[in-house]
Amino acid sequence: MKAIKTEIVVLGAGPGGYAAAFYAADKGKKVIMVEQEKRLGGVCLNRGCIPSKAYLHAAKLITEAEESSFRGIHFEKPRVDLKQMRAWKESILDKLAGGITGLAKRRNVEVMQGRGYFEDSSTLRVETAGGQQFINFDNAIIAVGSKAAMPSAFDLGNPRVMTSTEALEIEEIPKDLLVVGGGYIGMELGTVYASLGSSIVVVEALEAILTGADPDLARPVALRAGKMFREIRVKTKVVKMATAGKQIRVNLEVGAEKKEELYDRVLVSVGRVPNCADLGLENTRVAQDEKGFIKVDEHQRTGDPAIFAVGDVAGGVLLAHKASKEARVAVEVITGELSVFEDIIIPAVVFTDPELAWCGLTESEAKQKGVSVEVAKFPWSASGRALSFDRTDGLTKLVIDPETERILGVGIVGSGAGELIGEGVLAIEMGATAKDLAESVHPHPTLSETLSECAESFYGYATHTYSRKKTTTEQ
């Protein structure tokens, strides 16, 4: 069979893959994007970012209605039609995926539906519905992503034991739901199910939930979740699970103490694994690390000079926006630019209630690395905007280099923190100082003011809080 010749083949159509394909096409390359699923968009669109945010919006509506009676607004208990809710979610995904398909068409990016397999360092075989296709490429970009890990001990073949993928289908609202893993996926989905009426127990093996964030920022999330959920148990391990009729029997270990409990469903959110199996990587010079992630250099190049890898499959933080940035680096390197993925600020957002977002250096990281920093904090109890919607459980925080007063890190917890963190990213990337932030006028009354007021408090003159005077040495 005659091979199809292309300059770039992109394997995977998630936020890494389509970003790479579109950018390469915009730079005048002939691109084929191979995706095994019918709907483009990858995990982010189909089983991750987007559907979870749709449900979290629904959850917020329910919670806000419930919590409005003290304002004199009384709602009946909501009636949730799961079938309709799923259809609503699907309609969002269809719209977005349709958008990607349309954008591919307009750029003349050929989308080939099928499973890709590397025959060698310049040939990809694709198993399509219409038979095998061979693509001869100059460069390949692997962007096949990751999937939720399911440790074999928990893999009972019972649909009541779910990963995030199944949990996002919301087949039913379990009365008792156990969430294994207090990371961002577990906490976000726990929030969704709790608002729908499930009684949630979160177990986390580590000492705290959301361990990547500074403890003072994670605290408001834990506090609120502590009220919404039945229980959050840290330093707790799930030893065994077994089917028990229409329930799951779970054996837990809290230190030396052993417990046996029954749950209607279990959500396993203990991490993600790369989708590297059956790609034919062994026919190329692509190398993997001990966890199976593809090893890449700062140019996103794999051990095979013709092949690049971006996104989850290349390891690091598993976030869509990191994948898209890596995609840009890979394409720029392929098109001859001197691009590297280096010193790039990747923000993290946890869409719990309240939201938690941070970027750059965290206070804990600074401590760990022995970097001397100063920290400025602005509590949202001093924000008029936060008060106006009764959510003062927020905190804005700046991590500052004491010598240059440069902003090295920003952390925000509070309603809408995810929308606010972008300014932090810009500040850090631009090398802004706390003074720059303090002197930029922020609109009133908005939550964005907490950033400028936080910077002002660093100098001891925030309008809406009182802090000790700082003796600054102005140059």
Partner: protein, 448 residues
């Protein structure tokens, strides 16, 4: 934990490993020396940042390594944050000519790649291109500017930013590139941070190798790190500082008598009472009256920096060459303390055990050739200081005192100074006062 070569100080971006004290498998305590590195004018020891077991040694003796290079890998005992070194590694603001810029602790943050891959030829960190941004965070510049710098192959860690917090903007990058071009065209690095546009041309590029053996047998010696560093420093001083040397003589007859009387008492306490320690005493008194000789020039800021401290550098003749350790706070010390300290620091310098810190922060230097011989000479100012005092061998000389020719011991005294900061009249007044201070040293000053 990765242990990397910490910042060594201004202009010292690399060094040659003199000794490696540890091998793989060794247990080390926190602050235990793990290697000795010869850099600039001293052999400095690098301490372990934490207690632990050496799992890998990444360097060999004789190897030249750069700041930030991986030295060894340490697996910490009872790992965790508690075992990490105290915070110090800090961003460095290099906006003023502060020459006491030494990082006290090992920077455990890996130096970002690219930081140590500057333009070709600048690898050894010539004095015009110091690293001016700390290693904790990438250089403060916008993503678009960083991209341009990357495309140009410019190491932003060496580009001084003019905006708040040292932020680098396009104008800074442009100025830096222009400076590099100017230097490239002139063939040699321009010392100092920012020479004014149209600065006078430096001396011509190094001459091509000549085969001297065509005229007779030769012996070739490799130029040592120290020799290279002395050479760089001297050229820098000679080419930037307009030198003037003022000559004088001082009557040390009475001082020598005092010395003779007290030397044994000093010796008993392991201190040498020398003309150098007496000179420091006299010098500090004179400097207090003439602060412009205890100063530095900051052309970038358009300022003369008068120092309210008196750290006196002492030119020490070692086997390897000239090294100038610094005696700190000389104004706060008695002649005896000065003598005792001088003794120790000179010995350690000759043994090349003096630390980098001990060679930095000087405000004025003394070069005493009296012990060797010779009369007047013209020393070169030890930049960024602005003056240096030379002392020759004292000699029994017939002089006229109150109309009669008498025998006195006279010591040649020379002052070389930076004419940018001081004029001839100033220098004459300073030397006159200095001579007076010498001649008015009293027994009470020396007694112990």
């Amino acid at each position: 934990m990765d242990v990397r070569l910490p910042r060594l100080g201004e202009g010292a971006d690399s060094g040659v490993i003199a000794t490696v004290f540890v091998k793989e498998g060794d247990q080390v305590k926190k602050d235990q020396p793990v290697l000795e590195i010869e850099s600039e004018k001293a052999v400095a020891t690098i301490p372990a940042p934490a207690a632990g077991t050496v799992t890998k040694v990444m360097v060999k003796e004789g190897e030249e390594i750069k700041v930030g290079a991986l030295i060894l890998v340490l697996s910490e005992n009872g790992a965790g944050a508690a075992a990490l070194p105290p915070p110090p590694p800090r961003a460095i603001d290099a906006s003023v000519g502060d020459d006491a810029r030494v990082e006290p602790a090992i920077d455990v943050t890996p130096a970002p790649p690219g930081a140590l891959l500057p333009l070709p030829g600048a690898a050894a960190g010539p004095s015009g291109f110091p690293i001016v941004h700390g290693a904790g965070a990438p250089p403060p510049a916008s993503p678009s500017l960083r991209k341009i710098a990357r495309e140009l192959g410019i190491d932003l860690y060496r580009v001084r930013g003019s905006e708040r917090g040292g932020r680098i903007v396009m104008a800074d990058l442009r100025a830096y590139v222009q400076k590099i071009q100017r230097i490239a065209l002139e063939g040699r690095p321009v010392p100092g941070a920012a020479p004014p546009p149209g600065a006078p041309l430096m001396s011509p590029p190094a001459a091509a190798s000549i085969d001297f053996s065509q005229w007779g047998p030769v012996t070739k010696q490799k130029i040592t790190t120290l020799r290279r560093s002395i050479s760089r420093k001297m050229v820098e001083s000679w080419t930037t500082v307009p030198h003037i040397t003022q000559f004088d003589e001082v009557d040390v007859t009475d001082l020598l008598a005092l010395r003779k009387k007290y030397a044994p008492k000093y010796e008993a306490k392991k201190a040498h009472l020398t003309l150098t320690s007496l000179a420091i005493h006299a010098l500090v008194a004179a400097l207090k009256k003439h602060p412009s000789f205890n100063a530095s020039i900051d052309e970038a800021a358009g300022e003369i920096v008068l120092k309210n401290y008196f750290n006196i550098g002492i030119a020490v003749d070692t086997e390897a060459g000239l090294i100038v350790p610094v005696l700190r706070d000389a104004d706060k010390k008695s002649v005896f303390q000065l003598s005792a300290e001088l003794n120790g620091i000179a010995e350690r310098t000759r043994a090349r055990k003096v630390s980098l810190e001990e060679m930095q922060g000087g405000t004025f230097t003394i070069s005493n050739q009296g012990g060797i011989g010779g009369a007047h000479f013209t020393p070169i100012v030890n930049t960024p200081e602005v003056a240096i005092l030379g002392m020759g061998r004292s000699l029994l000389t017939p002089v006229v005192r109150e109309g009669k020719v008498v025998q006195r011991v006279m010591m040649p005294l020379v002052l070389s100074y930076d004419h940018r900061v001081n004029d001839g009249a100033n220098a004459a007044r300073f030397v006159v006062d200095l001579v007076k201070e010498f001649e008015s040293i009293k027994e009470a000053d020396v007694r112990i």
